[in-house]
C-alpha cells in the first residue's frame, strides 16, 4: 500500500499522512478523509471541554443537518427544533464517540433517527411550513426549463412547483423519503447513506428506485 511522503528541507522523510492511499482513490474520497481527520481533531478538543471546537463542528454541519431534517419534515420550525436537539444530543454523547465511524456519519445518524422518531409521532398531522425559494433558482436553467416548457400550466411559478414537490415527498414513507433526500437533494453517495441509515447499499439502491418511481407517478404532470 503506497504512503504519501513529503521530503523536508533537512532531507528527513516525514510522514505527511498516516492514512494509506490506494492508487485509484478519487479526490472526493481524499477530501472526505481529510475532513474526517479534521473532525476527529475537533472532537478530541471538544471532549476536553473546548467549546470553540464544538462550535466549529456545529458550523461545519448545521446547514447539512438542517437541510436533511427540513426536506424530511417540510416544516421550518420542526427542522429548527430537531437540528438543535441533534447538536445538543451529540454534545452530551460526545464522550461516547469512539471514532469507529466519522463524526459526519455519526451526527447524521443522530439527526436521521431523531427525525424518523419525530415523524412517527407526527403521523397524519403534516403541516407544511416551507422556506422561501432562493432567488438563484430563477437562474437555474434546468428549473427554468421545467417551469416554462414542461409543466402543463405555463404560468406555474416556482412557489407552486415547490409546494407540489413537497406534497409528493410527504406521500413517500419515511425510509424512502430519507433516501431521496440524502441522495437526490443532499448529493450523498449510496455508501454514505448506507452507513448513516445502517443498512446495505443494495437496500439504499432499491429504496431509491422505488421512491423515484413513486415520485415520478405523483409528479407525472410536471415531468412530461
Amino acid at each position: 500500500m503506497p504512503w504519501v511522503f513529503k521530503k523536508s528541507t533537512s532531507m528527513k522523510t516525514e510522514l505527511l499522512e498516516t492514512i494509506p492511499l490506494s492508487a485509484p482513490e478519487t479526490d472526493k474520497k481524499l477530501e472526505s478523509k481529510i475532513r474526517a481527520g479534521e473532525d476527529l481533531l475537533l472532537v478530541n478538543r471538544a471532549k476536553e471541554d473546548d467549546s470553540a471546537a464544538y462550535d466549529d463542528l456545529i458550523r461545519r454541519y448545521q446547514e447539512r443537518i438542517y437541510a436533511t431534517v427540513y426536506h424530511m419534515t417540510s416544516n421550518h420550525e420542526d427542522a429548527n427544533d430537531i437540528t438543535q436537539e441533534t447538536f445538543i444530543k451529540a454534545y452530551r454523547a460526545l464522550k461516547s464517540f469512539k471514532g469507529d465511524s466519522s463524526f459526519y456519519t455519526w451526527i447524521y445518524r443522530i439527526a436521521v433517527n431523531r427525525t424518523i422518531n419525530f415523524l412517527k409521532t407526527r403521523k397524519n398531522r403534516v403541516h407544511m411550513s416551507l422556506n422561501d425559494v432562493d432567488f438563484n433558482a430563477e437562474n437555474d436553467p434546468d428549473l427554468v426549463a421545467l417551469v416554462s416548457d414542461k409543466t402543463p400550466r405555463r404560468d406555474l411559478n416556482l412557489a407552486e412547483l415547490q409546494e407540489k414537490l413537497n406534497e409528493a415527498m410527504q406521500k413517500l414513507s419515511e425510509d424512502h423519503r430519507m433516501v431521496v433526500t440524502l441522495h437526490d437533494v443532499q448529493g450523498l453517495s449510496h455508501d454514505e447513506i448506507a452507513k448513516i441509515i445502517g443498512c446495505n447499499v443494495g437496500t439504499v439502491r432499491s429504496r431509491l428506485f422505488y421512491a423515484r418511481q413513486q415520485l415520478q407517478g405523483t409528479l407525472s404532470d410536471y415531468l412530461k
Binding site: S51, D55, I58, R59, Q62, E63, Y66, Y70, H71, H76, A79, N80, T83, Q84, F87, I88, K89, Y91, R92, A93, S96, R109, I110, N113, R114, N117, L130, N131, D132, V133, D134, N136, A137, D140, D142, L143, A145, L146, K150, L158, L161, Q162, L165, N166, V180, D184, V185, G198, R212, L215, Q216, L219, Y222, L223
Partner: protein
C-alpha cells in the same frame, strides 16, 4: 429503460429545486448561539435517560437490552418455580415422623386393630395430608344410604408378635 432513466433525470432536476429552499437570512449565524444557550440551560440528562436515549442511535443496544431483560425475567420465573417445588419437597420430607405421629389424629382402636388373622395392627396415627392408602373414615355415617367414605391415608405397618 432509457426513457425511464430520462424521466428520473427530469425528476432529479425537479428535486434540485429543493436545494433552493433556504431558511430566513441570518438563521445559520444565530443557530450555534441558540444551541449553546440550550446546552447551558438544560441540565445534563441522567445516566438512564441517556442510556435509553442512545437506543435510537444504536438499535443493537436496545435489542440486546430487551433480550437481556427477557432472559432475566425468564430465568427469574424458572428459578422461582424450581425453588418452590424444591421447598415443597423438602418441607414434606423434613416433617419428622415423631411430629406427625404426635399431631396426627388417632384412629380409634376398634377400627384399626384387627385380630382375626393372627396379627395385630398398632393404633394408626395418620398424617393429615400425606395419605397413600385408602382407609375407612372414622366419621359416623349419617344414613345407611350414604356410601362408604374412603380416603387415602399413609399407614404404618408393624407386624404383631
Amino acid at each position: 429503460m432509457n426513457s425511464e432513466q430520462e424521466n428520473f433525470e427530469a425528476l432529479r432536476k425537479l428535486l434540485a429545486l429543493k436545494k433552493y429552499e433556504n431558511p430566513p437570512p441570518g438563521y445559520f449565524a444565530n443557530l450555534p448561539g441558540q444551541i449553546w444557550k440550550k446546552i447551558k440551560r438544560e441540565p445534563a440528562p441522567s445516566f438512564w435517560s441517556q442510556f435509553i436515549g442512545n437506543w435510537g442511535l444504536h438499535p443493537a443496544v436496545a435489542y440486546s437490552f430487551g433480550l437481556l431483560a427477557c432472559g432475566v425475567l425468564f430465568f427469574g420465573i424458572v428459578a422461582t418455580l424450581k425453588t418452590e417445588s424444591t421447598q415443597s419437597i423438602q418441607s414434606a420430607q423434613s416433617i419428622p415422623r415423631a411430629v406427625l405421629t404426635e399431631t396426627a389424629p388417632v384412629i380409634p382402636a376398634k377400627l384399626a386393630t384387627l385380630d382375626g388373622v393372627g396379627m395385630t395392627l398398632a393404633p394408626y396415627r395418620s398424617p393429615q395430608f400425606a395419605s397413600t392408602n385408602p382407609v375407612m373414615s372414622s366419621d359416623p355415617r349419617s344414613s345407611l344410604f350414604s356410601g362408604l367414605k374412603l380416603r387415602t391415608e399413609q399407614v404404618e405397618y408393624s407386624p404383631g408378635r
